[in-house]
Symmetry: D2
Subunit: 426 residues, 4 copies
């Protein structure tokens, strides 16, 4: 804790707190791609609330709309009653997101956490199929409540349950055993063999790009293959687009360029547009067999989030301009990461779109690079089973100049750390 950090955090906040340990200062305000701390120092944000701030901090149009809503006594909390704000959000979501993509999913307002959307998806898949087994993948991350945690791969997180986790069978993600082994074929053989011991699946749940698991981006072919396998075995396909969706990979959904029909799509993080707690589950209509309140929750349907989410969709997804900007920025990010990859023997670029990183082969090294970058004004984190990936999740709206400045800090940090390491080794 720095001298200026109030002691109340150490004294009163649970030891479960984590990001504040890496970024040890006290933030007071934020705008666009930058955060400011109590000492007036400004940081470029390449973490973006773990992809919850894809449109940056405090977008002015969202702010205006939200302030207007609050000022006029707009509903702040309405359980899941009908509100004008919800209607407006749903109509916009239908018109600008679903229809142009040929989707007719229903929208389920779940508790405003990604894990709750995943819980709802897992429940519904089990209810629809009458089966309990859900296939999840190595390095997957789907949340921390008991149902979703069973689908999460990380040993430390799983251990936190304090009990055995049930209802999930693990299969290898694409590339899990190196380039030479086709994991799709492995999975197919396991499912086709009636003595494999793998119970008939209710669903496959996967992230098109694994955000926490090391920015593993599955190929179009592999995800389409999983989609076919799911159909063949009577299982639902749950594409968890909580981190990879809402533009992060360049399109609203991360799987738009794939020939798949996901049955259930959990959304959260950037869905509200402004970082407000909000999550939803998209459901293909034939699977929407919930009884009223069969899965419920007090904060489902955050009305403030409806307001900002509508602004976000109208502003960024009414035409293809935003997508083009994101594509361009993705090229810039890739270029910067290549520079780092060139410094580290064996380093590999990971991810897709604006969800990119570089695997530097060691969690220690990645951690030191991020720590050095923070000293120099850049907020950035690692990813991967061993934290071996330096991960960039910059706001998709980051101005070119800021993006380049952030990359320069990161490259310099990598250079510094590597030269120190090299010196130490000599």
């Amino acid at each position: 804790m720095t001298a200026s950090t109030p002691s109340v955090f150490k004294r009163r906040e649970s030891d479960a707190r984590s990001y504040c340990r890496s970024f040890d200062t006290v933030f007071t305000s934020a705008s666009g791609s930058e955060m400011t701390d109590a000492d007036g120092r400004t940081y470029i944000d390449f973490l973006a609330g773990c992809s919850s701030l894809n449109y940056g901090h405090n977008d002015p149009d969202m702010k205006t709309a939200l302030i207007e809503h609050i000022s006029s006594d707009g509903i702040a909390h309405g359980l899941d009653m009908h509100t004008a704000s919800k209607a407006a959000f749903l109509e916009t979501f239908e018109e600008k997101i679903l229809k142009p993509r040929g989707m007719d999913h229903k929208v389920m307002m779940v508790g405003p956490t990604g894990t709750n959307a995943v819980e709802a998806a897992m429940k519904l898949a089990r209810k629809v199929t009458g089966r309990s087994n859900i296939i999840a993948f190595t390095n997957g991350f789907h949340g921390m409540s008991l149902g979703a945690l069973a689908a999460t791969g990380n040993a430390g997180k799983r251990g936190g349950a304090g009990m055995d986790l049930h209802g999930v069978t693990r299969m290898p993600y694409e590339g899990a055993f190196g380039d030479g082994i086709d994991t799709l074929s492995i999975i197919e053989q396991m499912l086709d063999n009636p003595s494999s011991g793998i119970d008939a699946p209710a669903a496959f749940i996967l992230e098109p790009v694994q955000g926490e698991g090391g920015l593993n981006a599955a190929s179009k072919e592999w995800i389409e293959g999983i989609g076919r396998l799911a159909k063949k075995h009577g299982a639902l396909l749950i594409l968890d687009d909580i981190q990879a969706g809402i533009g992060r990979c360049g399109t609203f959904f991360s799987f738009e360029e794939m020939d798949v029909e996901p049955d259930l799509i959990p959304l959260a993080k950037s869905l509200s547009g402004m970082g407000l707690p909000f999550a939803a589950l998209l459901i293909r209509p034939q699977h929407d067999i919930w009884s009223p309140a069969e899965h419920n929750g007090t904060f489902r349907g955050n009305t403030h989030a409806f307001v900002t989410a509508k602004v976000a969709i109208d502003k960024f997804w009414s035409d293809s301009q935003f997508q083009r900007h994101v594509a361009r920025r993705a090229t810039v990010v890739e270029h910067g990461l290549n520079t780092i990859a060139d410094m580290v023997p064996g380093a590999r670029l990971k991810g897709r779109g604006m969800m990119r990183g570089v695997d530097v082969g060691s969690g220690d090294l990645a951690g030191e690079i991020c720590a050095r970058a923070f000293e120099n004004g850049l907020i950035i984190e690692t990813s991967g089973a061993d934290d071996e990936v330096v991960k960039i999740l910059a706001p998709l709206t980051t101005p070119d100049e800021t993006l380049q400045r952030g990359l320069d800090i990161l490259i310099a940090a990598a250079r510094d750390v590597l030269s120190t390491t090299k010196l130490a080794a000599e």
Copy 2:
């Protein structure tokens, strides 16, 4: 759906939606104890977001503070980094809530849903004790994600899981077998018998007043007894104060007048003060053995909620004035409910403080009374295993005149329904 209800709800929102079915109109704004719909009609709110709006809708001081925060680019989303808003909330919570009550609990920011606070509590109890079995009670409600759902009693909700629920043993709440049977003694005998088949418990989890389960209010003696049993058997005591806390029962925590030391206290609903998604787990310091991020979540620590929660605490809990007002209003509510109880043979008052209701012996009857009340401008819901309790969860700040007007509508609705029923019977 009324003529004016936008068709988008039916077309696009999941069938899981529920409250909107009972209150079929579109709400546009709300203030204090009243909500207004698109037709300009005003309703008195005796539901208060299921106790999430204990201070009413859109408290002017909270609105002002939140608008000021947003206008000045205050952090909207900061993961669990240190923010000035979080520091201010923690300091106020420590000073005005914990200290005066002799509590030194740590505060864990969990995903902003009650169920997530419960999940964290159950995990932590298991981790602390190395045991997996958690004892929950008949008619308990603790949430809908898989871990918390195992502790929830409602058959319909449990069935939604689509798989077996694990890690919980059920015991009878006070009064579960009628007045003649001391359930505390039964539980003690089960736990003392090494061949009872009840595995050593990691924790007891209970609501001091069961909000969804029928407004069963356990006595001081019974809850203290559970506390002693927990100690005797090396188990933690989790008092789930999500619905009964934050003033609902007359004091900030619902158990303040009891001689218990809860190890873990999940809080949510009215914690933010304004109905914003926010939840926390209070942890006795010796149990705060989490590793960093061992339980995490993107929206833990909703910064907007920190802002309003601090206002709520400063405004309502700096002295005892608010508690006195609540006590007075509770008397008014009790008087009103007694009037209804007098009309229905066998009816019984349920609950405690401003968490009151009347068990009219039949879910159909209770439902008709609430429906009739809604027609006459009162938002009110039922509770209980068979929805047999007409439940009042009015904002604690409801002005006396409004409170009386709401009660009058309710009493008239009960009279109407009962006379119709009587006529039909004749």
Copy 3:
């Protein structure tokens, strides 16, 4: 270990061995109600293989038949193929056991252990009902494989699983909370309450007399009540007659005098008549929905046991003479136990028929009495959650003189131990 005990036991047999610790000698032969050790010493057997030797050791007619079978190359192992021995057993069982009792159960040959019969019953109940939850009772003992163990109450045995046990809800047996509390009513209330958290049961499994759990004998009324509850809730009734059946309580089945229709009846222990491994599950025909080999096992249908079991039935159950003898001996046993009960303040008689014991209030005391009795030539064990019951399971065929001699040893042992204890206390 006595001087003459071969060291191979300590050196080579697993520490899981147990009875040999209480009866530390090496047995070489046995006949009727007596066992003889390597030193030529003879012991009266009041344990009877935990009720596996209801007809005593090495019944001469069974011996003759078995030797004849072996000599003539009768099948020793035939999987579950048709054999002449199996046909003969089934025909006898049908004619002498089922028909006279108005039963038309099918007979399922399971692996030759009681636990396997219980596993088959639990599986079948789940398959028939499509539910997984099975209600078992405090102090119940149903076996040690994982499915049956979940239904067993003993904490030490359960702990041996090394993992959580699933699929069973525990309810109180008759008398579990003392005389004043009607556990049947408690169970009914739990099941009738849709928010109790008790999932709809596939079955109730119970022992009419709890052999390991302390010789608790449920009343006719209570068991009939459980039968009615099972019917009301669409659950099967599994009466585990492994220890209490085959004459132990005075009739072939322990429940013959009750108005119940058990759906599934696991049998084992004395079924073979001679102590050979043999178990079966009786199934009401409408529930016999097994696919071929859906539950199988290599040793299902022990052919040697078919041979001896047929002799046992023909010899003892062709008329009512044997039952009359058993009834008379039960009176003798009761008389003897009363003598002991009179010596110990608060002692209570337990059990029914020839499955009797005396609760002396302390496991230490009961253990000392049994140890002293063994020194004096009587094999006898304790029972109960705290081993507080001195339990008599003498062969039902024990000659009056031997029975009295055994009782005399036991009474003397009790007197000795009590006087020593009393002296020590003074």
Copy 4:
């Protein structure tokens, strides 16, 4: 059912019966490698009680010893008390089996079924490691009680549980994905990856040759690799030798020629020598941490089986002569199966030693061949996930002439069926 089959089987035996459906006659006696039915017809037995009769039916020396034991009132049932017969068995087992192989395992007498030995092994591995996850393999078969069933791969058998199975993670056996994929490497990668979602294992359980799963015989290298993996990850190695052991693969244990140190070895089937129910678990001494009776069972330690098992060991394992005979017969069997393989395009030989078969690529074809063979006097069954393997489990003692005669019947049956099929196709 043939005309002469007593109707009692259909009327009274559960539909779970299975082998009697394939071999629809009534057997009356058996000797050596042949069984005789009620019509006086004799069959060569290539099933041998699923490898429970490795020394053939009714070995004369075992018969003599058992008759002598019974005649002299030797103990028939002694719970787990010390008996002279048990001492003699243990001493022989120690002297002739363990010592020559450099093994110092303890012997645990479990319930007399293979599944019970597996249950004990799984419990003990969990107890020793404090972990619950056990890794089992595709196509594995370990038993039908709930714990062992979780480790069994067959979908039909698993479905019989009627509930989810817990505590087991499935991994691919050698060759599960074809020759090109090294499953050992796959397993290692899964275990080394801390985000794979595979919980730290308590044990690996595997059959060196998969009897029910299709006679898959793992290589020395692969099993040694699993042994190394187990050590590396702190897990126990359970080699389930129930079907492959006791000489079936040519040596007493199936793994004798491998450099592995199995921690736990479940034995059953041919352990008694004469087909009597008997099972045991061998335990490396450091893992024998059972409390007395922590896993128990009424029929553990079948005394009749001690008598015959001792004879079997003395007779067949005192020197290497028997092993040489088995090796020679294995060559004969292999030759015969090759003849069949040559008839069927794509057919492959499976198994090892006297546990051999031919995969004819289709369950229908394999079934027809076995059915035709039975018509001609040969008892033989299929194996494999799709019953696609014609499996030979002839007694290891089968005289050369009988063995050849059996093979001739089988070859002729294959030729007949194939020519009929070919004709039908034309």
